[in-house]
Amino acid sequence: MILDADSFLEKCIYSPEGLRADGRRWNELRQFKCQINTHANSSDGSSYVEQGYSKVVCIVNGPKEPDGRSHTFLDKACISVEVNIASFSTVDRKKVVRNNKRVQELNTTIQRTLEEAVLSHLYPRTQIDISIQVLQQDGGLLPTCVNAATLALIDAGIPMVDYVSACSAGIYDTTPLLDLNTMEENDLAFLTVGVIGKSDSLALLMMETRMSMDNLEPVMAIAIAGSHSIRDIMDREVRRHGKQRLAKKGNM
């Protein structure tokens, strides 16, 4: 339980010494922890991602027989995303209605971002359900969800062009800051990118706050670099888990 939320706010966002309120430097990610195959018994693919204090669980079911005509496409799989934000995920408890517009936008955005990476044309007439549970929020909701969904899809063995990794970055005065927490998101202009693989290609770009055009390039650059680092960490986890499973394959 964090009690000193107020004393937190008194600190400045970026000190003259180049440190942020939580002690990070401008280009430093928060602790990124991830695990795949966390829900082996109840899903085809699953993951758990922590980005700082943001924590989400993702469960993938499918490809499977579609639920009905409206979920059947003749040329590709039907991917649906449902984000559920737990009422206890924020510092002040807040019940989020499922059909709220912001959640709908989040669902659609994640779905379309993943569609760009998933080779869904390989699975026509099937359905892939992605369900994301947000347990705790501290900034970077969208990127954390995208990263968790990528891992869960890989865990489910669903073919993808490459990882989709997402990260946010903001601007403080003229200094770009990587991977913002809630406090920084409230005070700074920031954007979120979703990168395919180790390229500079963006499937996702979202900016909801006002930022000068001239700051865009450095902020986007650091966000892309951050996404690449996240891809590496995720790849490491996929390999760790893969090796562990291959070791067990010895039992076959």
Binding site: M1, I2, L3, D4, S7, K33, Q35, T38, H39, N41, S42, S43, Y48, Y53, K55, V57, I59, N84, A86, S87, F88, S89, T90, V91, D92, R93, K95, R98, S131, Q133, L135, Q136, D138
Partner: protein, 282 residues
């Protein structure tokens, strides 16, 4: 979930035997192994996660907010969210109302009271991520663990504010916090636990699996308090079984004794979890 007539009759016949054979060989009062973690959400006052071996999973977060006691109808609010189930469905309503009533009744009177005017209000939010069988068992167990791990910050301002209302101030040191319902003797409060038993013929089974629920005549929902006493409500519920005849009255008696014999073991196992530390929640 659909089953074939041959499967149903095999399962029913096995479960109806005088000494029943459950599909996984468990005894009537045996639970499936569970996995649990507590206190893993730093932004909540208390939290717990319970997972069953068939993939059922429930996460509960408890948050406290300072309110003016007079303006609240209840100081406890329980909200259950089952993935894929509508918020107003009967399963959700039954679950949250049962837990709400029982927890409210069992919580020591002044556990949430801060001052004459202010009080804590507890928000207990249960999130059932996946649940092949009836969600009652794991939701109740997870709620129990979450409440057991719930801590409230220590009040440092005056408790007497009847004359001059003053917003309460708390100690920033989390180590000074107290567990919910903890009294002067540092005795911890234990919330009630509910369980669902499946009825097949003359037999009762705790922690029924999906297939056992499907062939059951009905379910009996009952709870017990911390001291192992069976408590209200005791209710016959539908578990999705097709056979809906009446139940023999002796079954309720059986349910009582079954509960009484299992309750101490379950409480002991649950309390042992709180003492184990874990780094990750999965």
């Amino acid at each position: 979930m659909k089953f074939s007539p041959a499967e149903i009759s095999y399962l029913r016949n096995s479960l109806e035997l005088p000494s029943p054979i459950r599909p996984d060989g468990r005894s009537s009062q045996q639970y499936r192994p569970l996995e649990a973690t507590t206190d893993f959400l730093p932004t909540a006052n208390g939290s717990a996660r319970v997972r069953t071996s068939d993939g059922g999973e429930c996460i509960v977060g408890v948050k406290a907010r300072v309110v003016k006691a007079a303006s609240e109808s209840s100081l406890i609010n329980i909200d259950v969210d089952i993935a894929g189930v509508r918020d107003d469905s009967s399963a959700v309503v039954l679950l949250s109302s049962t837990l709400q009533t029982a927890i409210q009744a069992s919580l020591p009177e002044n556990a949430l009271k801060l001052t004459d005017v202010y009080s804590f209000k507890l928000f207990i939010d249960a999130l059932v991520i996946s649940q092949p069988s009836n969600p009652f068992n794991i939701t109740s167990l997870a709620t129990y663990l979450a409440l057991k791990s719930t801590r409230l910050p220590k009040l440092v301002s005056a408790t007497d504010d009847a004359e001059a209302a003053e917003i309460p101030v708390f100690d920033d040191d989390w180590d000074q916090s107290t567990f919910l319902g903890q009294d002067e003797t540092r005795q911890k409060w234990s919330p009630p636990i509910f369980t669902v038993m499946a009825v097949v013929g003359n037999n009762l089974f705790v922690d029924p699996s999906v297939e056992e629920e499907f062939v059951s005549d009905a379910g009996i929902l009952a709870g017990w308090s911390a001291d192992g006493k069976v408590i209200a409500p005791i209710r016959i519920i539908d578990l999705g079984g097709k056979r809906n005849g009446g139940l023999k009255s002796t079954l309720i008696y059986k349910a009582y004794s079954l509960l009484q014999s299992t309750a101490p073991d379950v409480i002991e196992a649950l309390n042992a979890i709180g003492d184990q530390d874990s780094l990750s929640i999965f």
